[in-house]
């Protein structure tokens, strides 16, 4: 039996020493191939008597199993080594740049409009729209601004040429005509916001001939100035995402509201920059006017065909661009309308920054 034992030792040593897959295959053929040495030994088992096979068989079977296992193990080792060598040869400089494709952005005005829509949706306000090319009845007359009223001169209105037998047409100077259209087209109770472009003939660092407003309107029974106050406080706190928002309400005048209220929000000077929040009367503070509002004038409600003894409510309007500037810190309004890719990349928002209440409206 020492013969078989010696054979096993020799074969296993040869297998372990094989350094290529080809050499290993040659060894396999030499041992387990058709005329291999192990195959030859196995063939001797056939003619044996059962007693003899019982005696001589196990060592031969053991030889076959050991050699097979050694071949498989060595093969795996060599394959792994080959793979390692291949991978090592495929190494590249992973610090080379990868092109992630172009990066787009959402304009801050659109983002702020979405933020406002989200906040007001929670308060039950839906979104309404109206034409930008308006007639003077919707833009002025129905809003209790008669032809000679100084308030008409306050708005630097863009007009279109008069046409015989046609209404006088203009570019809306505010989103307030949407109030009128809504009250005329849908029965109360009403809760809407109306965002959009508005136009005034004005141009400097803080005024552009086109800008964006958002109008709010609530018409219902028993609505008071107290509801207006709460709504504005709630909305501004949510919008600026700060609890330390301090509002200053000042009586004012708009022909379409009575009483009328202007709203200032307190800011704090931090390193020369106005940061919204804090008491505007504090030493390092001040006030910024953010919106105009008031209880809808009874004449406006009447002009829309509603009974002002039954329905009353409030309206407010604010500049979307201005809100964006205050929240996100831009200081030149003209840049909003310049389309400068560098500015849009810096101040714009990612497509997936969708404002949600659960994620925070500031995205």
């Amino acid at each position: 039996m020492t013969e078989i034992s010696a054979l096993k030792t020799g074969l296993i040593a040869d297998i372990a020493a094989a350094d290529t897959l080809d050499a290993l295959e040659a060894l396999r053929v030499g041992a387990l191939g058709k005329s291999g040495v192990v195959t030859g030994l196995l063939k001797t088992l056939g003619p044996m008597s059962p007693e003899e096979r019982l005696e001589k068989g196990p060592p031969i079977q053991d030889l076959r199993e050991s050699v097979t296992a050694a071949l498989a193990e060595r093969k795996a080792q060599l394959e792994q080594a080959a793979l390692d060598a291949k991978l090592a040869s495929e190494r590249v400089d992973m610090t080379l740049p990868a092109d992630i494709g172009p990066q787009g952005s959402v304009h801050p005005v659109s983002q702020v409009m979405d933020e406002l829509a989200e906040i007001f949706a929670d308060l039950g306000f839906s979104v309404a729209t109206g034409p930008e090319i308006e007639d003077d009845w919707h833009n002025f007359t129905a809003l209790n601004i008669p032809e000679t009223h100084p308030a008409r001169a306050m708005h630097d209105t863009f007009y279109f040429p008069d046409e015989e037998g046609q209404k006088k047409m203009l570019l809306r100077t505010h989103t307030s005509p949407v109030q009128i259209r809504t009250m005329m087209n849908q029965p109360p109770p009403i809760r809407i916001i109306a965002p959009g472009r508005v136009y005034r003939s004005d141009s400097d660092a803080t005024h552009t001939p086109m800008f964006h407003q958002i109008e709010g309107l609530v018409i219902d029974r028993g609505i008071t100035l107290g509801h207006l106050k709460w709504t504005l406080e709630t909305f501004l706190k949510a919008f600026f995402e700060r609890e330390d928002i301090v509002l200053r309400l000042r009586p004012s005048y708009f022909p379409f509201t009575e009483p009328s209220v202007e709203v200032d929000v307190g800011y704090t000077l931090v390193n020369g920059q106005r940061i919204i929040g804090g008491d505007g009367d504090a030493a390092d503070g001040g006030w910024l006017e953010v919106l105009g509002s008031g209880m809808v004038n009874r004449r406006v409600i009447e002009a829309c065909g509603l009974d002002p003894d039954e329905w009353q409510g409030f309206a407010f309007g604010t500049g979307v661009d201005r809100l964006a500037m205050l929240k996100y810190g831009m200081n030149d309004l003209r840049a909003f309308f310049d389309g400068d890719l560098r500015w849009l990349k810096h101040y714009g928002f990612s497509a997936l920054d969708v404002p949600t209440l659960s994620g925070g409206v500031g995205a």
Partner: protein, 805 residues
């Protein structure tokens, strides 16, 4: 509206400090726009006496002074003023003081080798006047050593408030004082109206235009001596930025600002005959006090004598008839002009003035006699002369309004409960009179029952703006303070907030964020274009009558010009690749159309270590954006048909439109026409597109439930076909024909290769299509596959296609 603190205190007896007054002004609706104390700018400037003045050893025009400023040793000062001399008392800036006119900090220095400590100042240096010919000379009794601003009465903060158009009464200091008194800041002093003993009849004035000028009151004062106004008046006018001119002119200005009552003074020597308020006559001209000539018409009210127009009624006086230094006889006009008329005239002439601002809002119609008496008295006091009786032509609208009001209305509208007696106090302190009982007792069946009664509130003559009960609520609330209005939550519908976005809004949001996700930056461009830009894209329907500039004149019929201009600006700033989009409206006679526009210009892919040379955009990049954005907008993209070329804005051979039927165009896109690109200063390939969001059919609402679907058990089979087709056959037609060849089995057909060249005859092209076949219950048999192939080849054959061998 500007006034000084001391001026306010002539009407308001108060102990309140400046901060409290400012805070209260804001709280009651008189927004403080600014406050400035001139004394703060003049800190460090004292009254000083020049003791000696000697020639400067090194300079002819300079003198070396010794100056006594009341403190310690006299100081040596080098001075260039010709009037500097021993004995002069002037204003001296000490070391450390800041010169208002130039911000210079004074310090010890040497001028031409001579030490100089501080500076003797001119009025211009202190911004107290224009005089720079010499240093200020004060009266000989001016107290040496005192802070100049204190002595000169300049320690008086100037307050600037913004008065809303409804508050005519606060266009005078007195009205502001009345509001502050009502808010609890002191007591309104009584106004003293002098009695004028007129000598002789009043002047010949009348009104022939009772609509525009219902009342024209006047007196004359003969034998006046015009001159400089007294110090107190000149100082107040100066403090608020009004230049003192002469006593006669200053008196009218002063009363206008003090009491909100505009007046006009005529030099009678310049008048021919009596004065009449009448309508203008077409073509009549008047040289106004601002030096400009205005042409009036029949819609305007003027004041004229027998020969000429002397005044644009209620807006501005004439240059020729105003009071001069040598004027001896004056006519003082105190008239009432109808606000609407003033507004129209002022707008037509584009002429603003302090008087217009007041008449337009509406002056107190019950203050004509008093105003005239106060003015006459001031003229006589300051300039001497003998007044006449008053002439009162016409009658001002004096009818008083009353409003029925119940104190409950304050709670109902403003949500704040103010006790009735407090409401009454507020209204009365503002000049309203209140009568009646808030609650009255009535007897029903002999039993006393308290029923809500109402007050009858009479509106003061100076509050033209108040004409309904909500105005009274507003008065009460603003005086009580808006901070007393309790915040009241809006009633909330139970449950989670409902969705509120409109379908259009949802589409816009999806399109906007898809475009941004695809690498485009959102721009917002002007809604208006120049006429030339509009013409380049077919011309606009709406042209402004009063554009702010020629560049912003026509409402855009296309989003492309705005985007192309923005592209050009970016290219000029060095951008190598521009991807911009805008979501906005286009404006037509038929309405405003929601539209998405985009421009891709420059490099699509920058040169790179992987991609090699930079690659430009082509028409198919535009097509890809259009389809992706249409899909985001919910358009039935699979059903869209491509129709030939787009509008003239595009390259005729490299553009297209996508439609649902020939008339429903949803989008156009392509390579920009080179001549349009050139017009916007762009070169290289510029591709663009527009999507007409309003043309997309709205999606039918089908609820959350999807159509039932189970993925097929058997795998789909793919077969490739290569066809030779005439070169003019559109690829899309062939793909559609192939897809339609067996509607049951063929689920997709995709063109993957186009070839023209060796092996393909001239006038032909090779199109290769991958067809996806989906078996149903069992796999396709060989016969079935052959039958499908045959029908594909047959369908393609109808377009002249033959299977490539």
């Amino acid at each position: 509206m500007k006034f000084t603190l001391s001026w306010l205190k002539t009407h308001l007896d108060t102990d309140a400090d400046l901060a409290t007054i400012l805070k209260t002004l804001n709280a009651i609706g008189l927004e403080v726009e600014g406050v400035e104390n001139p004394a703060e700018r003049l800190a460090g400037f004292k009254i000083a006496r020049v003791l000696t003045a000697d020639k400067h050893p090194q300079a002819d025009k300079l003198q070396v002074l010794t100056v006594d400023h009341g403190d310690g040793e006299p100081l040596q000062v080098v001075c260039g003023a010709p009037n500097a001399r021993a004995g002069l008392i002037g204003v001296f800036g000490l070391e450390g003081a800041v010169v208002p006119s130039n911000g210079m900090v004074l310090k010890k220095t040497a001028i031409r080798g001579v030490e100089s400590n501080g500076m003797m100042c001119s009025t211009r240096e202190l911004e107290l006047g224009d005089d720079h010919d010499g240093i200020i000379e004060l009266a000989p009794d001016a107290p040496v050593g005192r802070v100049y601003a204190d002595w000169a009465g300049l320690d008086d903060p100037v307050i600037d408030v913004s008065v809303t158009p409804n508050r005519q009464d606060c266009m005078g200091v007195r009205g502001i004082a009345r509001d502050l008194a009502a808010a609890g800041l002191g007591r309104l002093n009584a106004i003293i109206v002098p009695t004028i003993e007129g000598a002789g009849p009043g002047p010949d004035v009348r009104t022939d235009d009772p609509d525009g000028c219902p009342a024209f009151y006047a007196r004359t004062v003969r034998g006046v001596t015009n001159g400089a106004s007294p110090d107190w008046m000149a100082r107040r006018l100066k403090a608020i930025g009004q230049k003192p001119i002469s006593a006669l002119v200053d008196i009218t200005n002063y009363i206008m600002i003090d009491l909100g009552r505009p007046l006009h003074v005529y030099d009678m020597a310049t008048l021919k005959g009596g004065l009449v308020a009448r309508k203008g006559r077409s073509g009549e001209q008047v040289l106004a006090l601002n030096g400009k000539t205005y042409t009036v018409d029949e819609s305007m009210t003027v004041i004229a004598d027998d020969e000429a127009v002397h005044d644009i009624g209620g807006i501005m006086g004439g240059e020729h008839s105003g009071a001069q230094d040598d004027t001896s006889d004056v006519l003082i006009e105190c008239a009432y002009f109808t606000p609407e008329r003033i507004a129209v005239t002022g707008q037509k002439l584009a002429l603003t003035s302090d008087a217009r601002g007041r008449f337009e809002r509406g002056v107190d119609p019950a203050f004509l006699d008093d105003g005239l008496s106060i003015a006459t008295s001031l003229v006589v006091t300051l300039c001497g002369g003998t007044p006449s009786e008053a002439t009162r032509a016409g009658a001002p609208p004096l009818a008083l309004r009353t409003i029925a009001y119940t104190p409950d209305q304050c709670l109902a509208l403003a949500g704040v409960d103010v006790p009735a007696d407090e409401q009454k106090r507020i209204l009365e302190s503002l000049g309203f009179s209140v009568s009646g009982d808030a609650d009255s007792v009535e007897y029903q069946d002999g039993m006393p029952v308290s029923v809500p009664g109402h007050w009858t509130v009479t509106v003061p003559s100076w509050r033209r703006d108040v004409d309904g009960w909500p105005d009274l609520v507003e008065e009460v609330v603003r005086i009580v303070g808006l901070d007393h209005v309790p915040s009241t939550p809006l009633p909330r519908t139970p449950g989670v907030a409902r969705p509120t976005a409109t379908p259009e809004q949802l589409v816009e949001r999806r399109v906007r964020r898809t475009a941004a996700a695809r690498g485009l930056a959102e721009a917002i461009n002007w809604s208006f274009l120049s006429e030339k830009e509009a013409a380049a894209v077919g011309g606009g329907d709406w042209t402004l009558a009063n554009p702010i500039s020629e560049d912003l004149k026509v409402m855009r019929p296309s989003l492309l010009p705005g985007l192309l201009s923005a592209t050009k600006r970016n290219v000029d700033r060095g951008a190598a690749s521009v991807r911009l989009f805008e979501l906005g409206r286009r404006y037509f006679k038929q309405g405003e159309r929601a539209t998405v526009g985009f421009v891709l210009a420059g490099e699509k892919v920058a040169r790179g270590w992987q991609s090699g040379k930079a690659q430009p955009f082509d028409a198919f990049d535009a097509k890809a954006e259009v389809i992706a954005l249409l899909a985001a907008a919910g358009a039935p993209v699979a059903n869209l048909q491509g129709f030939g070329e787009a509008s003239a804005a595009y390259h005729p051979g490299q553009s297209g439109t996508l439609r649902l039927g020939p008339k429903m165009m949803l989008a156009e896109y392509g390579v920009l026409h080179p001549s349009l690109a050139r017009q916007f200063g762009l070169s290289g390939a510029v591709v663009a597109g527009e999507i007409f969001l309003d043309a997309i059919p709205p999606k039918r609402k089908s609820g959350a439930l999807r159509a039932p679907y189970a993925p097929p058990a058997l795998q789909a089979v793919k077969r490739d076909f290569a066809f030779l087709v005439p070169a003019d056959v559109e690829a899309d037609a062939l793909v559609r024909a192939v897809r339609g060849a067996d509607k049951k089995a063929i689920v997709d057909a995709r063109l993957f290769d186009v070839f023209v060249g060796p092996g393909v005859e001239d006038g032909q092209k090779s199109l290769a299509i991958e067809v996806t076949l989906q078996p149903g219950d069992k796999s396709f048999s060989q016969e079935e596959l052959e039958a499908i192939s045959a029908s594909v080849v047959k369908a393609a054959g109808k377009l002249g296609a033959t299977l490539r061998g």
